[in-house]
């Protein structure tokens, strides 16, 4: 991802992370963007320095039991890029609610 503006889909994904949807599948659910687009975009954003990724705590995962999930967070440059994207795509702010609590999906 070189210098330049973000595409709309990438901006939507960045906006979802900013709104508290930090896990891949949550981002897929809230944005409606397919997984084959979301995950490559997350990797590109991480390479560009807009996102950082971490694994959740082992204790949380072991309680279930399952492997730890990866979650993403915005960096300072990510916040700046998102602010520019919001100016460019005016309706972006209205597309998603902020994450209040874990939603109960009607489907997987």
């Amino acid at each position: 991802m070189g210098k330049g503006f973000l595409t709309y889909a990438t901006a939507v994904i960045l906006h979802a992370v900013a709104n508290g949807y930090k896990y891949g599948f949550d981002i897929i659910d809230i944005t409606g963007v397919p997984g084959g687009t979301v995950y490559p975009a997350l990797r590109r954003l991480e390479e560009a320095g807009h996102l950082t990724s971490k694994w959740e705590k082992q204790s949380v995962a072991q309680a279930e039991p399952r492997p730890p999930r990866k979650y993403y967070d915005l960096t300072r440059t990510g916040r700046e890029a998102l602010a520019e994207a919001v100016k460019r795509y005016r309706l972006l702010e209205q597309t998603q609610p902020s994450k209040q609590r874990d939603p109960k999906p009607s489907r997987a």
Binding site: G24, G35, Y39, R43, R69, R107
Partner: protein, 183 residues
Amino acid sequence: MSLLSGCKRLFTRPHLRLIALVGVIVPRRLRADWRQEWEAELRYRETQLATWDRLDWRNKLDLLRRSTSAFWDALLLQPRRLEDEMFQDLRYGFRMLRKHKAVTLVAVLSLALGIGANTAIFMVVNAVLLRPLPYPESERLAIVASTVRRARVEVRSTSYPDFVDWRDQNPVFEQLAAFNSVS
């Protein structure tokens, strides 16, 4: 019985089997993390659905549908495989060249001679044969020559009066020009 149990295993949690299968094409360096990321999400979602008693065939099918997206993710990681392997091969190549200096010198000299000779020959061929004449529609240019019938010889030079007659009386050429070459 082992075949049956094998088939049964294959269809138990097919979404996780698919991730394991697709993971084969992910570059080795990234494979473990990639698999964990996808498997963790799928298993988390599976556990949530089971807790809410919603793990019916529709949701299982949806888990499988989600896992198919992993294929595109794995496919888009392929350039990193090429970079990794290419740089590894390049580093190995440089180490070998430094180790065998005599062979390297012979190879470099051979390449230099070959490239130099080819360049020289191409420059000549390009100037003489390939490069068009610096005139518009140069393919329409022609040299007009006269023939001495008795000797059946094509004479490339002609007299000025003949040139004037050709210029004024020919119905074929739009224009005629005379030139004198000095060797």
